[in-house]
Symmetry: C2
DNA sequence: CCAGAAAACCGCACTCAGTGCAGATTGGCA
DNA sequence: TGCCAATCTGCACTGAGTGCGGTTTTCTGG
């Protein structure tokens, strides 16, 4: 038994229609050249109704943000008895990376491009990232009360996330479409090595 | 001989008047309740003219961003012969922290509060931080061509900046005015220890 | 099957940020 | 002094986002 009331199904469908319509329009016409009115019209709802689905135009690019954050928090909660904070963060990252097609997929590719192109989108993305980070810090500190205080958890999480995004930012830098998974993997390993070296117990980590 | 043409002096004065007026109005009325028209009127210029001084309302809170970034880049350029990348980053941070009253000062305090309060301001701040970070990465990679490639420099800088901001974010968390410099110093040391341990040659660093 | 309540839809009018344009002002400089 | 360029400013406009109020649709209990 899921959330299957007609109301909710309809709402989910409309929401998806909005994302799809926005994806199409952003790709063909460009982000700034697309108005919310056009997106709403393409999804066959009134302009006013749009704002009961998304609070802003930018949010169309990050539709399942909360789901991904939750996956990360779950990964922290499911820590093994022998894991330290660094291992947990690493596993959480892999978890998020797996169940979301974050580098393939039409919307994902569009998002990456618009993040590099449109300031408003970048700002919103960074904002969401920081919010997620804050939650991770709280859960991490709570999960390792003897090894980390809040400030330490903030520093560790910040270093980890900062290293990964810093490396990815350089890697995805200016080129457009051709993203090689191998290179991404390599960049992540560099970032992890830089950020987590003093934290990992086993210096070798496969995959 | 500086930039002392009457034109430039006048322009600088008007710019400062705008920042001052905005500071006053933001403090008394609140950020969202203050319109650009009001700020412009308080600084005795036309509403339209405002946009030839600042591109947006948020930018009023970050008036000397470029100056600070430049100070950081200079600090990198002035590296000593025995310094590694981590030491340079550390020195750059201290440099920036010194010549900008970033934790005292009316505008600085207001900025911190609004960053926590107003999403648009936070987004803009993160954006500026990321831009600065990108420049630092470039300069750092150029300064240490044998020790760092671009991706490594991105990871290192990201880890460093991420750790510091992550720790500060937790520290400045929810409280409002009372910021104790000693606690800040402590948080920075924690962050540096977390992020730079494997990079620093001398594990002890005074001050 | 049928109220009535709740939630969603949606038009209307509004505020405000930000832009393009064109004309008036003013400072720089020969 | 007089010309050029930068600056200032009002006007008109677009587009995001909000509050309000009335209508439609869905849910729930009898």
């Amino acid at each position: 038994m899921r959330t299957v009331s007609l109301r909710d199904r309809k709402r989910t469908r409309t929401r998806q229609a909005l994302v799809d319509a926005a994806t199409d329009l952003f790709e063909s016409r460009g982000y700034d050249q697309t108005t919310i009115a056009e997106i709403a019209a393409a999804a066959e709802i009134g302009t006013r109704t749009f704002f009961s689905y998304f609070a802003s135009k930018e949010d169309l690019l990050f539709p399942e943000a909360d789901v991904r954050v939750q996956a990360g928090l779950d990964a922290i909660a499911a820590r093994g008895p022998e894991e330290g904070p660094a291992e947990v963060l690493l596993r959480a990252l892999r978890q998020i990376g797996e169940d979301s097609d974050d580098l393939s997929g039409r919307l994902a590719a569009l998002r990456l491009r618009l993040i590099r192109t449109v300031p408003a989108v970048r700002g919103r993305g960074l904002q969401l990232q920081q919010d997620a980070q804050r939650q991770i810090v709280r859960h991490l500190a709570a999960a390792f009360p003897d090894q980390l205080d809040e400030v330490g958890a903030g520093a560790l999480t910040g270093a980890f996330v900062g290293a990964v995004t810093g490396a990815l930012q350089v890697l995805l830098g200016d080129s457009d479409d051709p993203i090689e998974p191998a290179a991404v993997q390599q960049a992540l390993e560099v970032a992890v090595a830089v950020a987590l070296t003093p934290w990992l117990r086993h210096p070798d980590h496969q995959q």
